[in-house]
Amino acid sequence: MAADRHGRARIPLALLIPAIAGMAFLVLPLAGLLIRTPWATLPRRLAEPGVLAALGLSLQTATIATLLCMLFGVPLAWLLARTNFPGRRLVRALVTVPLVLPPVVGGVALLLVFGRRGLIGSWLDDTFGITLPFTTAGVVLAEAFVAMPFLVIAVEGALRGADSRYEEAAATLGATRWSTFTRVTLPLVAPGIGAGAVLCWARALGEFGATITFAGNFPGRTQTMPLAVYLALETDLQAAIVLSLVLLTVSVAILAALRDKWITP
């Protein structure tokens, strides 16, 4: 086999060509977005109330959804990683279903449970007068449903990777399981939780299918950035490009922030 001066074998063309094509396929659309961006009118378009409202709503709902996911997802991940109850593998599989489920189907499922006539929704409506569908709370719910598996899987992985003997050491020092969790386990897996939270937040920020199905598309109330992009595409291409650019910027910023800490293989 041919080798270069460093003694390494040359990369086979059969691998190199598809690799470059694949890379181009991923990068070109983003380049196209940048090329077609109306840079001259960008500041004015960004300042439009509709854009700011959608961006604000997106950041807000994605953040609340992420906090909810952490509140419930970290204990769930702990249960999956540190205990051995019957049906644990099944639970783990079920938890990851939203990862592969088309988000629209998730939205329909949420409607069936949390809709006004849904299993829990009708009870919430009758008892507390709480309505979730087509509200901002509904947006949060839809985003949390789709994004939580990202957090659970990341945190479970971090817990499995963390040396559980530190927890044994804590127990021999008199720590109960709860104080072991808060004083030892959580600090040890904090980077994993951080990484999971960022992935979860990014997924929530980009959520479209479940949101539009369960929460609708009302400007100022349930219209998040992805929904605004979709709507703008029908009427004002330039606006859609600007909105997309904002989402792209936020996503790349997250990736850049994560790169050193957690994503490097």
Binding site: R165, E168, A171, G174, A175
Partner: protein, 355 residues
């Protein structure tokens, strides 16, 4: 056991697949006992059972009169409720806490306020000579320093039983010597019972006053260092203390080994007996020697290794023997692996004792 009242009184039975651990342990307050044995003997399993990190399959653990584990009575006290401190083999200092907060962790969990716990931790670090390292994270501590922080952390909760798992194994040879001396001092200042788990006979003999030797999950010998080194009862201990050890049937001063070879000793015995002698007591000759009462036999050299300033010659033949000779003697005899040679041991150089 010398002590009549034992702080720790345990019959540890654990089944791990085909492996069975079954040992009796008793440690008095202020006493340091070493659990010595080869890897896989069940030492760490015993330690984990005492700490409550693994339930017993049978037997019992009683500490200061309180039953901690008794499967027969369906009784199990979890680790956080036991007055047991553990120094783990690789210390397991919490990486996100300073040395001070690592030591304060236990007192804090036992109900001290943050201020009290830190004052106590500070005092412990001072006693260990680590006062100026209190703010360091574990990864900025040397091996010897981390070992002392781990000891301070375990002692800071006033355990009735202190357990140490291979306390010096993670240290390099130089640090070991210093740390062993310090550890000895701290362990003997500990008012509670102390159990050290180790595979290193030197650590066991230097740190503990009573040794319990286990192999394959059972106790093979126990006693103080002097009695164990003088009269080893298994090949493992004989190897540890550097003796040739044989078991056979004694008739007077003659002990017949299973292969039929007779060893002449000076101690008259009857029945099953051990015979031990040092490798340096073995002399090697090109021709069959004669003279004073000796055991002589023809052997084959199976290996030659450096051993300190001498050469250790492994011999096969009627019995497997190690012999130590000086390099000069080895050169004079032209010793080579595979060579046939005569070996001799004076009866007065052997020690015989009942099995």
């Amino acid at each position: 056991m010398t002590s009549s009242v034992s702080t720790l009184d345990a019959r540890i039975e654990v089944e791990l697949g085909s492996f069975r651990l079954g040992i009796d342990l008793a440690v008095a307050a202020g006493q340091v006992v070493a659990l010595l044995g080869p890897n896989g003997a069940g030492k760490t399993t015993a330690l984990r059972a005492l700490a409550g990190l693994r339930p017993l399959s049978g037997g019992h653990i009683r500490l200061e009169g309180q039953t901690l584990d008794d499967p027969g009575a369906r009784l199990f006290v979890p680790p956080e409720k036991r007055a047991v401190g553990v120094v783990f083999q690789d210390y397991l200092l919490f990486p996100h806490l300073s040395a001070l907060d690592n030591v304060a962790f236990g007192p804090r969990r036992h109900g001290s306020t943050k201020t009290q716990a830190r004052a106590l931790a500070s005092a412990w670090l001072g006693r260990m000579g680590l006062a100026d390292l209190a703010d360091r994270r574990p990864r900025h501590l040397s091996g010897g320093q981390a070992q002392r922080v781990a000891l301070a952390r375990a002692l800071a909760v006033n355990p009735a039983l202190l357990l140490l798992d291979e306390p010096l194994a993670a240290l390099d040879a130089r640090t070991r010597v210093d740390t062993r001396a310090e550890l000895h001092q701290h362990l003997h200042g500990h008012p509670g019972a102390t159990l050290i788990v180790t595979h290193d006979p030197l650590d066991a003999m230097m740190l503990a006053e009573h040794l319990v030797v286990i192999e394959d999950g059972t106790i093979v010998q126990q006693g103080d260092a002097a009695s164990i080194t003088a009269q080893p009862r298994t090949d493992y201990i004989a190897r540890l203390v550097g003796l040739n050890l044989y078991q056979g049937t004694a008739t007077g001063t003659s002990v017949t080994l299973p292969g039929g070879f007779n060893l002449t000793t000076t101690q008259p015995l009857v029945g099953q007996a051990f015979v031990a002698f040092s490798p340096s007591a073995v002399s090697l000759y090109q021709q069959k020697p004669d003279g004073s009462p000796r055991n002589t036999w023809q052997a084959t050299i199976t290996g030659i290794h450096r051993h300190g300033d001498n050469l250790r010659i492994q011999l096969g033949g009627p019995m497997v023997t190690a012999a130590d000779v000086t390099p000069a003697a080895a050169a004079h005899l032209h010793l080579n692996p595979g060579q046939h040679i005569w070996a001799a041991v004076k009866a007065t150089e052997t020690r015989a004792y009942p099995a």
